[in-house]
Each structure stands twice: as C-alpha cells, then as structure tokens.
C-alpha cells in the first residue's frame, strides 16, 4: 500500500516529467483548458451535471425486446439484474448524481477532485452500458428511439457525466487533502476493521456481479464491466477525499492488526454471497496466479530481471505434483501426502529456477529476457512431446486425485458448527493460506538485506557490485526464490484442477503474468494480487466475448502501458523503471547498419 504516492507525486519527482515526448497520463491539462469558459458558472455546471445524470438514469435505455434477456417483455427500463439484487447501473447513476448535487452545494474539502472521480464513474457506466446495448442489443436504434418510445438514457447520462467533469475542472481540482488526525488506537482499529469488512463486501460484489458468465447469462460481462466502472468512480472519489490515504496510513500504524484482520476477512469470503462452489473455484484460480505473480514480482519487480518464461515454473510444480499424486497417467506409481508433494514441487521448481537464472551471470537486460523466453519455449515444447513420459504430452495428465487430509476430501462440502459451507471451500482456505505465506515471504525478503541487494541490482548493477554486493549469486537467488513460490502454487494448481496439460503454461500465460505484475505495480504485494485478480477474473466474466478475449487483453495491455505504466499500486521506493534515468537515455553504442559497428549493449533495468 502506498501513502502519498499518487501518480502525480511519482511523476513530479522523476526527471521523466521534463521530457517533452512523455505525454501526461491524465488529460488534466487539456480538460482544464476546455472547462475554462465554464469557470464563472462552475457550481451551476456541477449541479446541472448531477441533475442530468439522475434524469438520464430514469429515462428508458432500451425500447425493444432483448432476445434471451431476463425481461422477455418490452424491456424499457432495465435489462439486467445487478449484484445483490440491487437495480444495477441505474442505482449507481442515481447515487452518483445525487452525490454530485450535494457536493456541488456543500463545501467539502477537495470537492472538485471528488466530483472528478464521480464524473469519470458516470461516464464509464453510461458509455459501457450504452455501447453494450448498441452493439449486442440491436444497433444504435436501441439507444435512440424506436417503437415510439424515446430511449436515450445512455446519451443523457453521458452528457451528465461530461457536464460534471467539465464543472469539476472549471471549479478547479484541489490538491488531495491530508488527514492528520490521530485518534484513540482502538478507534483507529475499529475504523480499519470497518474498512476491511467493506473491502470484503466489495470483493464479494465484484466476484458475483453479473453472475456466472456463459451462454445462460449473456449480460454478465456487461453487468460486470459496468459495476467495475462504477466502482472505479467510487474509489476515485474516496481517494480524492483523502480517506483511502488515511486508511492506508492507519493500516501501517497497526500493521500486525491489519495483517491478521485481512487474513480473517479473506477467509470469511465463503460466508458472503460469493460463497458458492463456482466462485470458490474462481477465487482459488485467482489465488494460484496471484501467488505466482508475487513470485514473478521478486524476479521482475525487485531484482529487475525480466522473465518472459516464468509460467514454466508453475508448470514444473504442477507436473511434479501430478506425477507424485498417484494419478493413473503419472510416471511414478506413488501417492505422497500433499504437504510433502508441495515441498518437493517447490524444491524442484527452485532448482530449475536456479538453472534458468544461471545465465544472468553473463547475460543482461533484454538478452536475459530472451534467454528466459527460450527456456519457457523449451519447457513447453518438451512438455508437449511428453518428455521422459513425465508430462502426458497432448493427452495431459488427467485424474489427479483431490487433496485429502484427515479423511476429508478438499472438494467436499463441509459444515462447521451449524454453518454449511460450499464445496471447494477447503481449497479456497488452502490457497488463501498459500498466498498469505507467499506475501509474507515477499514482504520480509523485500525489507531484508537480500531484498535491498536485489533493489540495488535493479537500480544499477555495476554500482551494486562496487558496493560489495555479490551480484551473481544474488541474482540467481532471485530466480530460485521466485521459482520456488511458483512451484508451491503449481502443486496446488495440479490438485485443484485435476488435470495438468502443457497448454496451461504457454507463452501467453507468461505474458499475462507479467502483465499482472506490471498492471498491479511492480515491486508491491497488493499490486501483484490486484493485477492477477483483474487479469484472471476478466476472462472468467467476459465469457460471452470468448472469441475476443485475447484481443481485448492485447488492447488493454497497450492502453495500460500508455496511460498508467506505473501500475495501479505503484511502489513508493521503486523509481528505476519509472523515473527516467538520463544515463540510459542515449541509445548507446548502436549501429543499425554497418557490420563493423559496435552492438548496442545497454544494460536495461528491465
């Protein structure tokens, strides 16, 4: 978690801001200019924006029968059911609109900034729903007028959002207020507890919003995206008020308490509406990738060594686990208890990690990325060819038995006391514990001597060496540690999914993991978890766009890099990749043409 490191702060301290061809990631300047004529009537614009938003919310959005929809009759009002039975985007828009009107009239610190967050939320909700209706619901006619009724709710709401945004900018965007108040420690803990419970609620709502994707529920993707948009606006507004910063500061003051409460809160997810077998499985899968992403974060985020074949370690863990599980297709006819298997997987993956990492002794930067990519490809090819009869080849290794401890199979539904818990809840608990362990390892390593050595290597390897850091072994150690963590996750993965196939460990998966780390924010734990959660939930939710999943993913990568390269949760201390090191600026020693010319060999803080 960061305290005061918002995007503007990071950028202001970095020399990158001085470069002309780095675009400002937020179009603040242009919007300010655009809103300037409105400045004398900023309050009026804000109120008008709020009113128009509310009106837009209550206008009809669709005027024809949506085939297969939950409302087979003329769906003039609402076309999907929102999380927890609340009436979806309409409710969000009304709340946002009313909040905007109140904020426009009542003097609250940083209200312009808060309004800006709300405005973006309104815009996101109206654009997403409008687009969805137009594209999936039968063309532009659906959002304008047809059937005698006028259905331009989406357009009116969008106008409201834009008005709000301009009004917010016209009145000026204040700096984010800082809450310095110290309360009674127990009151502070109470606040934290409430905040974490709210977080639990939000996580459950995000998971369940839109329901299960797939043919039976064609609106799930739209509902989910719309909810995400609203949530984004909501959190932007909260952040603008300084509340999130304050809570982050509180959580750092009561660190142990926060960690324990978060763990309990995470374990309480099965008690929320997300507590069904399906969501437990989704959450467990997210957990696997989150744990792996944290492992990758050690290699990429801390030590600055770009790894493009990282998913191989997850695969190695999974394959080892599959072979030791007693599955019919396994190479060895033994079934070891799960904890033992896990440790073996971690060790084997760690050994491979050291092997893959050993070229770091001689290879740097982009070249290292290529070496790791090569190792990843070798792994996939070998697994595809069923090397040594270990991987099952294209038949995969099916029928891996469920984890069993004390006579309870982890896939069974269990009851604690009078509470009936969904099937798969034990897997969920297990993966939460694994992720917690991985997080613990990561955060302790990060603050340790070793972690500081990694960061030093990332910042400047030669300087680090000059300071007496033995860079070689320490770089290999980064690979080893990261791979070990992935191996753990792999063992879990094998048993949870029951089938291990080389197809789960292709280059695309490595890219997705890397994207998760970068999207979340490199070098931070919450970042990796958030990134993994987003990148592995979206495909689950956007089932009806199954064909376009990868396409959207590719476009999303490009957009993220363009507009928020520092990630959602940027690391306070990490500057190497973001702050532009002027020494790295020249494209040193490169010729494109002459074969007599020297080769570009810049060491890259990749």
């Amino acid at each position: 978690m960061t305290t005061r490191t918002d995007s503007a702060g990071t950028r202001a301290t970095s020399p990158a801001g001085a470069r002309t061809n780095v675009p400002p990631p937020q179009p603040g300047g242009r919007l300010d200019r655009l809103a300037a004529p409105l400045a004398p009537r900023a309050t009026a614009a804000r109120v008008a924006g709020g009113v128009v938003t509310v009106v837009g919310a209550y206008l009809p959005w669709v005027t024809f029968v949506l085939n297969r929809g939950p409302y087979p009759e003329k769906a003039s009002l609402q076309f999907f059911v929102a999380p927890f039975g609340v009436t979806g985007f309409r409710l969000h828009l009304v709340l946002f609109g009313l909040a905007a009107i109140v904020l426009a009239l009542v003097a609250v610190p940083a209200r312009g900034r808060i309004l800006r967050g709300l405005a973006w939320g309104v815009i996101a909700v109206s654009v997403l729903n409008g687009l969805y209706i137009a594209v999936q619901g039968g063309g532009l006619g659906a959002i304008t007028a047809s059937d005698g009724a006028v259905a331009f709710g989406a357009i009116v709401a969008l106008v409201g959002g834009v008005l709000l945004l301009l009004g917010a900018h016209a009145g000026g965007i204040e700096p984010r207020p800082e809450w310095r108040r110290q309360l009674n420690p127990w009151v502070e803990r109470g606040v934290l507890l409430l905040a974490y419970l709210a977080l639990l609620f939000v996580v459950a709502a995000v998971l369940t919003s839109g329901g299960q994707g797939g043919a039976a529920n064609p609106f799930s993707g739209a509902v989910f995206l719309s909810f995400l948009g609203a949530l984004g606006g909501f959190f932007a507004a909260l952040h603008a008020s300084g509340l999130l910063t304050w809570i982050t500061a509180l959580s750092e003051r009561h660190r142990l308490f926060s960690v324990l409460v978060l763990l309990v809160v995470a374990l309480a997810l099965p008690l929320t509406p997300a507590g069904t077998e399906y969501w437990m499985t989704v959450a467990a899968n997210i957990g696997v990738y989150a744990a792996t992403a944290i492992g990758l974060n050690i290699v990429v985020g801390l030590a600055g060594l770009l790894d493009l074949g990282y998913v191989a370690f997850l695969g190695i863990g999974a394959i080892v686990a599959a072979n030791l599980s007693g599955a019919g297709a396994a190479r060895f006819d033994i079934a070891l208890p799960f904890p033992v298997v896990m440790i073996i997987c971690a060790v084997v993956a760690g050994i491979f990690g050291a092997i893959v990492g050993s070229p770091t002794l001689r290879v740097r930067g982009d070249y290292l990325a290529i070496v790791t990519l090569a190792f990843g490809e070798i792994f996939v090819r070998s697994a595809q060819n069923n090397i040594g009869g270990l991987t099952g080849g294209s038949n995969a290794i099916p029928g891996i038995p469920q984890v069993e401890l004390f006579g309870t199979r982890f896939s069974d539904r269990i009851a604690v006391g009078g509470l009936r818990l969904p099937a798969g809840v034990l897997y969920y608990v297990l993966i939460v514990l694994i992720v917690a362990l991985v997080m613990l390892v990561f955060s302790h390593l990060k603050e340790s001597r070793l972690g500081r050595a990694w960061i030093a290597i990332r910042e400047d390897e030669d300087a680090a060496r000059a300071m007496g850091i033995r860079t070689g072994p320490i770089k290999i150690l980064a690979f080893l540690t990261g791979a070990t963590l992935a191996g753990f996750a792999g063992a879990f993965f094998a048993h949870k999914t029951g089938t291990v196939s080389y197809e789960s460990f292709r280059f695309t998966e490595s890219v997705t993991l890397l994207a998760a780390v970068v999207l979340g924010g490199m070098g931070t734990v919450p970042g990796a978890v958030l990134g993994a959660a987003l990148l592995f939930t979206l495909p689950e939710k956007l089932r009806e766009f199954a064909d376009y999943r990868l396409l959207l993913f590719g476009i999303a990568l490009v957009l993220i890099m363009r507009f928020r390269p520092q990630g959602l949760v940027p690391d306070r201390h990490r500057r190497a990749e973001l702050a532009h090191d002027p020494a790295d600026d020249h494209l040193v020693e490169g010729t494109s043409g002459r074969d007599t010319g020297p080769t570009p060999r810049t060491e890259v803080p990749a």
Binding site: V371, P565, G593
Partner: protein, 310 residues
C-alpha cells in the same frame, strides 16, 4: 545419406533466408530504439493476409492465373499492408512511449502482437483455420545432381533465397551508402546528437519501421507462396525464430541477422533430422543454441564485445 543431408541443408537455407528477412526488421528497430518489437512477427503475418485478401477479392482471374503478373503485385501489396501496420504501430503505440520506462514499450509490443493476431483470427473470413495461399510461382522442383543421387530444390525455395539475399544486399547498401542510411546510423549511435546535427529523428525512426515492414511483408508473401497456406499464428512462431536469429547474429547488425537466420534454419532442419527426438524437438534445439550463444558469446556472432559502462 549425403542426399538427405544436402536436401536438409537446402531446406535449412530456404527457411533460414526467410527468417533472416524477418530478422532484419527486428535488428534495425532494436538498433535504433532498443525496442524488442515483438509485434514484428505479426507485421509479417499481416502482410501475408493482406496479399491473400487482394488476391482473393480484387484480382481478376487472368491476373490470378499468371504468376508473373500476380507475384510482383502480391509482393507490393504485402509490403504495403505491412508498412501501413508498421507505421501505425510506431505512431500510435510506440512513439507515445518513447522515453517511458523500458518495460512499457516491451509490454506494449507484446500486447500489440496478441491484438493483431486475434484481429486477423477473428475478423479475416475463415482465418480461424489455415487458409490456402495462392502458389503464385513456378511449381515443382529442380533435381540438382550430387554424388550419389539428386537433391530436390523447390523453385519457390530458390525464389525465397534469391529475393532474400537481394533485398538484404539492397538494404545494407542503402544503410551504408545513402544519406538516409547515414542518418539512421547516426540516430542509432546517439539520437540526441543526431538531432542536434539536424537529423529528423522521428522521421528516421519511421523509416526504420517502414524498411523492416517492407521486408516482413515480402517475407509473408514468399512464405505463403512456398507453403501454400497461412495461419494466424505464423507471426508468433516465425517472429520468435527471427528474433532469435537477430540475437544470434548480434542484434543491431544487418549481416548478423541474415547469418543468424540461416543458422536457425539449418539448426531446425538438421536438428530435426539428426538429433534425438526428431522434428518434435527441432524448436528445442533452436532455443538451446540461442541460450548457448548468449551465454558464451552474449554479443552474438558479429557484435563487438560488451563495453561495460562505469
């Protein structure tokens, strides 16, 4: 025995010169802006599909039937489509990120690569499966006599080798002799100084992308003509090979790219023939060679040894 060996050499040379052609684009872009343009393989793929689209939907039948009319046309079209995509990418994906953290353009490139591949797969009619590509060249093989038999040489293979070598030579003389080529070299050595000397660096970078894309587009058409079908994932696969080739030869080095491509081609065909595991493992050998070269000669065949910065 000898005939098998020689025909695998021939196959290796054909594949290798094709890969070398793609590798030139990688190596030039890396030399100029130090970006691993992962999307370059996709530019190659898009060129092939562009040619296929024009051939299928635009060309009148009599042109389709005459290869000496159709082939040059397709080569031009492929190059044009690839160039358009390459220039758009440079302008809208990479240029905004110039000066951004190193990882940002790399991940952008990966994203662009995925997106382009999926665009074609989803929106080109029938591209979810392999599509037949017109064989717009003389079909059949010529039997080259060698001691102990004959070695078959495909005419299309010969075409690939000749076109690749000619283009590579043309490119290298352009870069070393022309005014623009000198500007390119200047930018790759030091963009800031080059700018001070009056070189329009933005234009030079676009030029680099254009040159690379033209070669990739031509390679795409040649690939389709030789194999007779194309797939939406040919870009990823061949792009990876080509990148490997560029690294092998010493990235930033034109001669190295071609030599690296030929080495890759030979390793693939000969490894598939003679090494344990057969063709199922030929990819593995390519990457093993890559790792070995990078570890023992990180600068590649033709690169100069690393100058460690203080």
């Amino acid at each position: 025995m000898l005939t098998t060996f020689l025909s695998q050499i021939v196959n290796g040379l054909i594949l290798g010169s094709l890969i070398g052609l793609i590798a030139l684009g990688y190596t030039m872009v890396y030399g100029i802006i130090q970006l691993i343009n992962f999307a370059h393989g996709e530019i190659f793929m898009v060129g092939a599909y562009g040619g296929l689209a024009v051939f299928t939907y635009l060309l009148p039948t009599f042109v389709q039937q005459q290869w000496y009319l159709a082939l040059p046309l397709l080569l031009v079209v492929g190059a044009a489509v690839s160039t358009a995509v390459g220039v758009l990418l440079e302008r809208f994906a990479y240029r905004p990120l110039r000066g951004a953290p190193k990882l940002a353009p790399l991940i952008t490139a990966l994203g662009v690569s995925v997106a382009l591949q999926e665009l074609i797969r989803n929106f080109y009619p029938g591209a979810t499966a392999a599509l037949p590509f017109p064989r717009v060249f003389v079909q059949g093989t010529v039997e080259v006599p060698v001691p102990g038999g004959t070695v078959p040489l495909r005419w299309t293979g010969l075409l690939i080798i000749v076109v690749s070598l000619v283009l590579a030579y043309a490119l290298s003389s352009f870069v070393s002799n022309s005014r623009m080529g000198r500007a390119m070299r200047a930018v790759s050595q030091d963009p800031d100084t080059a700018r001070l000397m009056g070189v329009d660096t933005d234009r030079i970078i676009v030029l680099t992308f254009v040159l690379g894309a033209v070669l990739a587009g031509v390679a795409g058409i040649l690939y389709g003509t030789d194999l007779g079908f194309i797939n939406s994932d040919i870009g990823l696969q061949n792009g990876l090979f080509a990148f490997t080739a560029a690294v092998l030869g010493g990235i930033g080095n034109l001669k190295g790219a071609v030599v690296g491509g030929i080495v890759i081609g030979l390793v693939k065909t000969l490894g598939g023939q003679y090494l344990p595991g057969g063709t199922a493992y030929d990819y593995v050998w390519i990457f093993v060679v890559l790792i070995a070269v990078l570890v023992f000669r990180p600068q590649g065949f033709f690169g100069e040894s690393e100058r460690v910065r203080a």
